[in-house]
Amino acid sequence: MHHWQKILMMAALMLSGSLYADDDHEGDHHRQPNHTRVKAPAAWQAECGSCHMAYPPGMLPPAAWKKHMDTLRQHYGSNATLDAADEKAIRDFLQLASSENRQPVPTSKPGEPPRITDTRWFQHQHDEIAPAIWKRKSVGSAANCMACHHGAAQGDFDEDSVRIPR
């Protein structure tokens, strides 16, 4: 991948804009992603960051986030329900901040909401990681971005700050 493409993609992910690898829109590869940053409500970081890092909204399309928000009682085996005010603020934020992601909703296991780690772009970015590495005790699962991306909580997934733990 060219350096400029990576920069574009990272900007897209961090600014919740369109993903660079949007195969259906050839022109999007060259278009500067939308830089309007949607301001996150405090509840998003506090609530969606309490069991894992608060995953950047641009990493899934709006329909995928809707499925998350509709199934918080059964969230990968955890009850992640919210009070009505936080629920609405987070739902609205995720819809708006992911609106430029036009990718298909990734298929997931029955009863589970869609995973970032099941998207094509994620699997493409991580295709050199052997299955045994994901299962290392120090990693746990692919969803544990922070195990390898030390700046992940701040939205930094740059390859320069990646270190796979032993």
Partner: protein, 135 residues
């Protein structure tokens, strides 16, 4: 004058909250427990301790509070999504059990995770009595 004195003491109260667990928590659960059961006869830290370590398979997985908070609540725990949790015991993490809304939210979620039901006010009060006593 009276008003400013009152607001001054309210301010003091708010400022001193993070320092130690919220004493209003227990009276809140006591009032609720009395409503749930007119024969309510107080909270028991020993029962609270049992609640913490009791295994349940209600969810299909064998779980207990210790699954995430570890057997010793003075130690850091871990979520199923691998994020580290500050120790649950307020003697180690002073911000714990200071905020009724937060405590209620996690009782709602965690009792459902482990027991697939809500915890009663009796159980919550037992639990809080115990965790406050863990030094």
């Amino acid at each position: 004058m009276r008003i400013s004195l009152v607001s001054f003491s309210v301010l003091l109260g708010v400022l001193s909250l993070p320092a130690e667990a919220n004493p209003a928590l227990l009276s809140h659960y006591q009032q609720q427990a009395l409503q749930e059961n007119p024969g309510f006869s107080g909270f028991s830290a020993a029962r609270g301790k049992l609640l913490y370590s009791r295994q349940s398979s209600a969810s299909g997985k064998t779980m207990s509070c210790t699954s995430c908070h570890t057997a010793d609540p003075r130690q850091p725990g871990k979520t199923p999504a691998f994020r580290e949790l500050a120790p649950l015991a307020p003697s180690v993490t002073p911000t714990r059990f200071t905020d009724l809304k937060k405590v209620e939210k996690w009782f709602r979620r965690n009792c459902d995770d482990v027991y697939q039901r809500s915890c009663t006010a009796q159980e919550k009060g037992d639990f809080v009595s115990w965790i406050l006593s863990v030094k």
